[in-house]
Symmetry: C2
Subunit: 272 residues, 2 copies
Amino acid sequence: MANASELPIGIFDSGIGGLTVLRQIRRQLPREDLIYLGDTARVPYGTKSPATVVRFACEDTQFLVGQNVKAVVVACNTASAWALLALEKRFPVPIFGVIVPGACTALKKTRSGRIGVIGTKATIRSEAYKRVIADRNGRAQVFAQACPLLVPLVEEGWIRHEVTRAVLREYLDPLLRRGIDTLVLGCTHYPLLKRAIREVAGSEVALVDSAETCAQFVRASLKQLGLLQSSESREGWIRSYVTDETEQFTRLASRFVGCPIPAAEKVELPSS
Amino acid sequence: MANASELPIGIFDSGIGGLTVLRQIRRQLPREDLIYLGDTARVPYGTKSPATVVRFACEDTQFLVGQNVKAVVVACNTASAWALLALEKRFPVPIFGVIVPGACTALKKTRSGRIGVIGTKATIRSEAYKRVIADRNGRAQVFAQACPLLVPLVEEGWIRHEVTRAVLREYLDPLLRRGIDTLVLGCTHYPLLKRAIREVAGSEVALVDSAETCAQFVRASLKQLGLLQSSESREGWIRSYVTDETEQFTRLASRFVGCPIPAAEKVELPSS
């Protein structure tokens, strides 16, 4: 049996958004093999109920564990918000989410202690960021805003569209009026809107990219656990699985990863 | 065993959009019992692949047939576009979709023969409206436009929002420039945007509401098949099932149906 550190890292998301996390992990850990699962037949998770999100996340993780991964990255804010504890209890590998790294980075960046968080309906409803931030700094204040139109706008490709700026103004104005100086992009789709968000929020608001901070956290944690690839020279491979047809995924994937990745394979998930 | 005409009508959709069809059936057939299934755990279908849409539609129909319905209404343009033939082959009850009634009504309304169709990505990709219209009138021309942002806008409740009008202008302008005089609202969510669509399209473009035309078609077909409720005086009941938690469905349902409906029940679907 291979040494655990030589095994791949599993990454899952409801769809393609988690590829922004894969991209950052690839950038920071180029020697690691990566297995990505996008549950594209049931995407999105952000509009679904907590019980359903937990069930789907368990099935996703079960699949990745079946692929013999050394750790699982929950590259989806909604699944991280609702399912992380359930996954940690149920599976024997380290599980990393996106919420804690994002919350900790926001606390490092803020000067005023007034932090904005944007995400899907389910993520915001979970109050996960609020809880993690309050646990670490009782004086910080979190102002949260669900932004259900942003994922469809990204998937439509309206990244620099005037409509997208109008939608962002509508969502961000209430947060900006509360005087936030830091804004957590609490959904793995949002890094693609960073430029538009910066335009609307203004340059004085620090943006926290949960994909980037998650990748830093994964690197630090694997190092601490002695689970980083030992080979100095190899280049890791990437393998992708989806639950719907592969065509649309493969077409959109390059936009998210920023480079071509091998064609995905369609799979059926084990039911939990 | 009850006479078949006394049995309920089954209606399904990927989520809540099909409730606009239920509303019209209720209005036109107030004596009929109606069983509605919304596959809210896997909504939407309009962004998924044909194979996945067919699989989901078979599972939805299987559930309704298990409830002993006399007919099944596919209250979803995407499922009607891709799955109708498969359902007709597989199940022993009459199956009614939304495409044929909408296409026929458009042909009745158009004077110039230039018909616009808007719908989800999957519906437009299927070219189902184009095919049905061409079969019936070889000279009519169909101009189609996928509008993936409209469903999220309706679900966000931005029915009369300036952003929605801007999105509609973007989607409809290419059709209006082609000189359409009739526009098929080829998604069961769109009737909720009728007023905004009328503003953008102008009063000289006739709108075809696929929910309304489907209900007329269901009434005429059941009559022809001798399957209409025989009792003159009774008021039909409505029962709803969903695959995700019931809370959000129940909250949004009244907006679609236009009157309160009994709380939905959560169910698991048989896998196909």
